[in-house]
Symmetry: C2
Subunit: 256 residues, 2 copies
């Protein structure tokens, strides 16, 4: 299916195979390589790195053009990349991309994000991977102004690679024009006021998960949260190792 | 609902409110505090930090005893802790526990794990949190030999706390007797041979997600993978910050 002389780019997302942000990402990069898309059959926001263990998975080709194949998959975003890597592709991809997500995946949103779940899965498999997310939540927001940023970052990673176990989390601000690009650390924060209580017409009670993001270090220099609020594209280098080495060093001799 | 003089312990899990491992955990710690359990209504293995954004959530009290309340919740493991913290508890818990999971959550399994999703969510909200998992995959495996390890770790964290943004990932080996406890880093690895192709009686094709874990650094000293294989309880201090600081330092001046 793939030609050997162009870089092979696997694209996944969490908003679904027919999402607006995915169409933009395909359009931005399709002349840079052979593109294969494996995306969920519908929206899977907040899927994190969840995998499907108790339901079967189906996958089918929905579009085939020159240097572009698009598959849809019934599973989670991480199921999609696993399906792409093991079942669909006949060689190891040169790059894995995810997005462009409709919604901010900076700061702790990384943890809940299906977009970044895909990127972490690729990183675990020692493949260079980049996640792209826009802070516009509208699923129909235009993204033409992101084209050159996406292309520069993709070209850089195709040519220079990334360190093993490091991937990139790229977030785009809502302003246009964009002020530039900042390399950032992950800001600390949390979601608050997360539940809305409602009552069904027949009287039973239920909840919707909602809420607002609250920074735990508002205005702190160097975070992705601050960079985005100042109008910059933020690139957060993200490491596939959750170990707290300094605490480990302190505790190593504590016996239980 | 809670009495003020005992530590308040919130317990969640991903195997469901009626799971064997949860019953053991409650039994091991219930004399150490006021215990409130918020657990999924059924099994949610591999839920990672997924949250429910497009379905309503229901929650109900299923058991009420002296110093013990158990609620079941229709959502994901992370929905359960969010529901516990904001809707069910009337004060901030002194400790969040998760488990005891039926299955290994060491190494990169941390990322897919609902058990550790709960712990990371607590850590994000700056609460001390510990996840417990057993490498026995059987949902009926006896766990009495884990009692003293769980109690020592819980007592330690109740008395000493944990650094902000650090939580613990505790995994138990399958051997009995256990050799002791080791503080470890997260080993690197990945799942391979992940898809089993099958054909429905009516002819359509589908897949089950399965596979085997493969270490990327077999036998490496100091990893949780190695510690477990040698018969030790492993404690992996886990940090709520995915930033790759060394790469960030190198890239800070690269302009796009």
């Amino acid at each position: 299916m793939q030609t050997e002389n162009k870089p092979l780019i696997l694209i996944c997302n969490d908003d679904g195979y027919d999402s607006n942000g995915l169409s933009y990402l395909i359009d931005f990069v399709r002349d840079l390589g052979e593109v294969v898309v494996v995306a969920p059959s519908g929206p899977r926001s907040g899927a994190s790195m969840s995998i499907t263990s108790r339901t079967h998975i189906e996958c089918s080709l929905v579009k085939e053009e020159s240097h572009l194949h698009i598959y849809k998959c019934s599973g989670t975003p991480v199921d999609c990349i696993k399906m792409g890597l093991e079942v669909i592709l006949d060689r190891v991809p040169d790059l894995v991309l995810s997005g462009i997500n409709h919604g901010d995946n900076s700061s702790v949103n990384t943890y809940y994000s299906g977009t970044m779940g895909i990127v972490l899965e690729a990183c675990m498999k020692r493949l260079p991977a980049v996640g792209f997310s826009s802070c516009h939540y509208s699923t129909s927001s235009p993204m033409d102004n992101l084209r050159e940023y996406v292309r520069k970052i993709v070209r850089y990673v195709l040519s220079e690679g990334l360190p093993m176990y490091t991937c990139l989390n790229v977030n785009f601000p809502t302003n246009d024009p964009i002020k530039g690009v900042k390399w950032c650390r992950m800001g600390h924060g949390e979601w608050v006021n997360e539940w809305e209580h409602q009552i069904h017409p027949r009287g039973w009670e239920y909840y919707w998960l909602t809420g607002e993001y609250e920074s735990q270090e508002p205005g702190a220099a160097g975070t992705d949260t601050t960079g985005l609020s100042e109008g910059y594209v933020t690139i957060t280098p993200t490491r596939l190792d959750l170990t707290d080495y300094s605490y480990l060093e302190r505790m190593r001799d504590l016996e239980f």
